[in-house]
Symmetry: C2
């Protein structure tokens, strides 16, 4: 839910999408089960206007049972299906993607008593991205380094023009880990996973869950926003002094993430033996949070730039649940692409960043092909609105 | 000092280099002051044979005063110069490189009472590498993935052939941070820093100094050798199950470094509030050490591969004090290059990996040019031996 008090650290995040010209409720929902988070996409009648609303919801994959309860409530409320009756409804389809679609296939089928249709994870990501980028206004934005603010990308009224300008691009999906996918066109044969990294959201969440007292990833990000990484990072200026250096980097460039910690620990101890918990308390949680947020984001930015450069892709979309529309994260990814490409490539972000896979799955037809002309084309795109609602 | 008990986790590391045909002691020494470690190279008469020995010594940069005492002892013992007399000796030259050469220039000059000649860090790295690679037998080795053992690179007797085969290459120097340098020939204009990373030795040392009870980096590496990263890393198999996955990665591939930690912390708490020190103790230090060693090494390997691929460089030398001739580190870097390049690029390592900069500085003449025909060419390379000795 978007809360203005977070600005400028947040931009509006995952709101429902109203489809006022879509009068028929769609008897489908989708689930994208990732390594850390599970994302759900479903439609329901609009209470306040004509048409339907596309709704988005996510929960930790560890709480899959809780999420299944949520889905049951949605099915009872809007889909005329009560799984507690133990009556199997083959006409109701849950389209499942993500790693867990395979792992939890039987569980989903058994507990929801409906058809579970598995779809390829990467294809769903691409289909979802293409939908958000070409059909939904105010979805895509970038951070303008010069003006130091978010800029929304205008969506041309000419749908063909939008499609023509869309390819090629690199999709960097940041969940627990990172996947990088080169996309050259809309077809199923037009994308390939070109690389990835194990240093992703799971790494930052994992490290910060033992290096801070935070309980949620959003708390960690709020903490990072307050911290000063210069207390723990070794800067170029710390090594070279403020004057000349031959490597051509600014004095405030980070030479070594967490590079001041080791020195500090052993300077303080002076031969005494302290355990890790004592050492940990020498450092401000917020400084560590900021340092590691920068380290992981910078690194993803650099690897993404190198992959984009390798295939001559100027446009890079960053998506996945890691970003969470968080100001520092977006800034760092955006700055990294600008720095490494010397302004030649550009980083784009999406409001529904975490829901590409579930959105794409939602759009898959029963024959496993994506909707090339989604039902929602009937909607007047100019009249799309967003509001925050939740089923609980 | 090389100790056989560490095998196979270690290969022989920084030994002196004997130069039996070099009868004249060289009235010079060099220092390379990095962000974390300072490295010294000096020559002294050989006690056991004719000629001189090149000696190598390093200490944390924070202990620079202790290191200056060490240098004073060497100067008194072998260089006919006693800085305590406060008599300035302009004929004695300390050649200084690394970031600290600028920062500590006045201090060195004031305390050692000799000429301090600053030299460019990157050029010293390249000159040092070229010397080790082309002049010193048994210096360069690689890890053979198929045979699962270290292989020493044979040095041709034909010096010209050695030089001809040397270029181009990528030098990846891993200290506190990482620098990547493309080298196309022996000249001063033939190298350029193409990239780097803030995720280097300083990051691993920093994180492990608060996540383990270890007191030295060697202790951290020993601990990592005992750990099992699968207890904290999220593997592809943990997400997809052991069966099919569409992304084409093996089940034991690391999807997210430290990706199991977040779940485990919050599963255990079940709503209770625990602080970071309590959470930390849920995990084995050795598992974290192994995970982070893999994460940092894998990442450096991937970025190095992408940079090498960008400039079509087949040969990648890994150097710097991070590696410490440690088995897992070498294995991981080597595997990463093999994996990403599909066998087309190769990772090489050096026994004197941490001393490229100080060796290169040692070889710089007073006019700032490297010795193109180092004095040591007179030595019969076949008779070079190495022994571990230390001035204390």
């Amino acid at each position: 839910m978007y809360d203005d008090k977070y600005y400028p650290n947040r931009v509006p995040d995952t709101r429902d999408i109203a489809l006022p010209f879509n009068t028929e409720n769609i008897n489908e929902m989708s689930i994208d089960i990732g390594g850390s988070l599970t994302k759900v996409c479903y439609s329901r009648p609009d209470d306040t206007a004509t048409g339907v609303r596309l709704c988005f919801y996510s929960l930790e994959t560890d709480k899959l049972d809780e999420l299944i309860e949520f889905i049951k409530n949605v099915l009872i409320k809007y889909y005329d299906h009560n799984p507690s009756n133990h009556l199997y409804n083959p006409d109701l389809v849950l389209i499942a993607t993500g790693g867990g679609a395979y792992k939890f296939y039987d569980k989903l089928r058994h507990e929801l008593h409906c058809t579970v249709q598995k779809e390829d994870e990467m294809q769903c990501l691409i289909v979802g991205l293409d939908f958000f980028v070409t059909k939904i206004r105010r979805e895509v934005f970038y951070f303008d380094e010069a003006e130091h603010r978010y800029i929304e990308v205008e969506l041309s009224e000419d749908e063909q023009e939008v499609m023509d300008n869309q390819y090629p691009y690199l999709l960097v999906n940041i969940g627990s880990g990172v996947s990088m996918i080169k996309v050259t066109g809309p077809g199923a044969d037009s994308f390939v996973r070109v690389g990835g990294s194990s240093l992703g959201g799971g790494t930052l969440w994992g490290l910060l869950s033992i290096l801070t007292d935070c309980r949620t990833f959003d708390e960690m990000l709020e903490m990072a926003a307050q911290g000063n990484n210069e207390n723990v990072d070794l800067l170029v200026g710390d090594i070279y002094g403020q004057g000349y250096n031959s490597i051509g980097l600014k004095a405030n460039h980070i030479a070594s993430s967490m590079g001041k910690v080791y020195k500090r620990v052993f300077e303080d101890e002076k031969g005494r033996m302290e355990d890790r918990a004592h050492r940990l308390h020498k450092f401000q949680q917020r400084d560590i949070a900021r340092s590691l947020l920068y380290a992981v984001s910078n690194n993803i930015g650099q690897v993404a730039y190198l992959q984009a450069q390798r295939y001559n892709l100027k446009k890079i979309y960053f998506a996945g649940s890691y970003i969470r529309n968080h100001y520092q994260t977006i800034r760092t990814l955006s700055y990294a692409i600008d720095f490494w490409s010397e302004g030649r490539s550009k980083a784009y972000f999406l409001r529904h960043e975490g829901f590409l896979g579930s959105m794409g799955a939602f759009l898959m037809r029963r024959d496993g092909e994506p909707e090339t002309h989604p039902r929602f084309v009937e909607a007047d795109l100019n009249s799309l609105t967003r509001e925050a609602t939740h089923e609980r």
